[in-house]
Symmetry: C2
Subunit: 261 residues, 2 copies
């Protein structure tokens, strides 16, 4: 059983030359990925692309077609390098319009600052025709939804504030059960055990992630699946089999403590 | 002038369910992006995808065709969820072979540990036929190059150590000049200035990135281009025009100090 058979699928499209140049480190993919996991949305892929209209159009169309939900980040500010809205409109073959409610919010926002609501800032009221707004509680300039594409800004704090308001409206899914078993042995020692447990538990997938810390090393085994009972059984079998092999193994409880300690 | 007309282009493919679930935050894209910038390789896109063979094959083929260099990270360890090598071989329509030199290195490495060189670890000597090895100075298990695809592990420290040994062999390009002008005003105030300077300097692109810190906010304007003289002229014009507009503006020197202060 693949979780994306029943859970909504999603893709993230980060738009920004500054990420590709290495100048800015993306923080939105990791944050959104955690949010999606917490509400049963399955992130299928993430892409980081340049601020180029044809590239944005191509990627938006491909991801929008392949997945239930798409989230973009970046390129909806007031300057000439903010071309996401033009590209999104082109991808959906609609015009860009000045959205009256978006303009109203921006006028109200800038009236409370010492900043002029000039032509550049007015650009932030430009939205693809038929899109609906996503509220921006921090700096007024809205994001928007068109088709299955959710357009968010690149600044992490603003993206996060906007996503918080949005998330209760997103389709949810069954939240995946994910249990970590901390094993005090190299993953190469227990590879057969893990493959075997996975093969015998329908719908369960097992990932193994080596860790090295001063004084000890080992493997974090992550057992995940949509069925809580089956996933828990699989995690307990990993714990038991690794112990039978002769290494320490502990299920990590939700609060970070180790089982049986 | 687009820099990728003369500089080699690259794409990064991060392979790993643990990144898509939000459990692990990717650190390889940002690190590699900086490395590429430093030696004139133009990163065109980065993708994060699942540990699924058909998905890996599709992405490797697409990126390998579109760009000069491809770098993958993740999925070359000893466990059942490490399927990158199978997928890369399939993408290039070659067999996976046990590489004698890779095996020799692994045997030598494990002889110096208390770890058994078992079947799972022997899997790390499996390499697509015709691939050449990338040295791993930390944990022996090599990466490899096949066609224009460079296959690296997911653990950041190991990836970094392997890339350090690899980078002098990569094709270089002209290193982009990138000058930051720190402006004490909102990007919406200077949007017209930036668009105008960019339009008048061939091959120069200008990005603007708002920053907010307690007590002050402003815009980091990043002026970049392959031609040092033209890029420097453009940065100086941004500085002068923003000052003429009435805000503070300073070119940030390479050592982090501000020009003229």
């Amino acid at each position: 059983m693949q979780s994306h058979d029943i859970n909504p699928t999603a893709a993230i499209l980060v738009i920004g030359d500054e990420i590709l140049s290495g100048r800015t480190k993306d923080k939105n993919i990791g944050w959104l990925a955690e949010q999606f996991s917490a509400q049963g949305i399955k992130l299928m892929e993430a892409r980081i692309i340049a601020d180029k209209k044809n590239i944005i159009v191509e990627n938006v169309q491909a991801l929008s077609k392949n997945y239930d939900l798409v989230f973009t980040s970046g390129g909806i500010g007031p300057t000439h390098d903010d071309i996401t809205t033009d590209a999104i409109a082109a991808a959906f073959e609609v015009k860009v319009i000045c959205h009256p409610e978006a303009e109203r919010r921006l006028i109200a926002h800038y009236a409370n600052t010492n900043l002029e609501f000039n032509a550049a800032r007015k650009k932030m009221a430009d939205i693809p025709d038929t899109a609906s707004l996503i509220d921006n509680p921090l700096s007024a300039a809205p994001g928007y939804i068109i088709g299955n594409v959710h357009v968010l800004p690149g600044v992490p704090k603003i993206l996060q504030a906007m996503f918080e308001g949005l998330k209760s409206k997103l389709p949810g899914g069954i939240v995946m059960t994910r249990i970590t078993v901390r094993c005090s042995t190299g993953e190469g020692n227990i590879a057969m055990i893990l493959a075997d447990v996975e093969a015998h538990h329908d719908g369960v997938s097992i990932g193994s992630y080596p860790y090295m810390k001063p004084g000890h090393f080992g493997t974090a085994v992550v057992v995940s699946g949509l069925d809580f009972e089956i996933t828990t059984m699989a995690a307990k079998m990993v714990e038991a089999d690794v112990r039978a092999f002769g290494a320490d193994a502990f299920i990590v409880n939700a609060d970070g403590t180790l089982s049986g300690q």
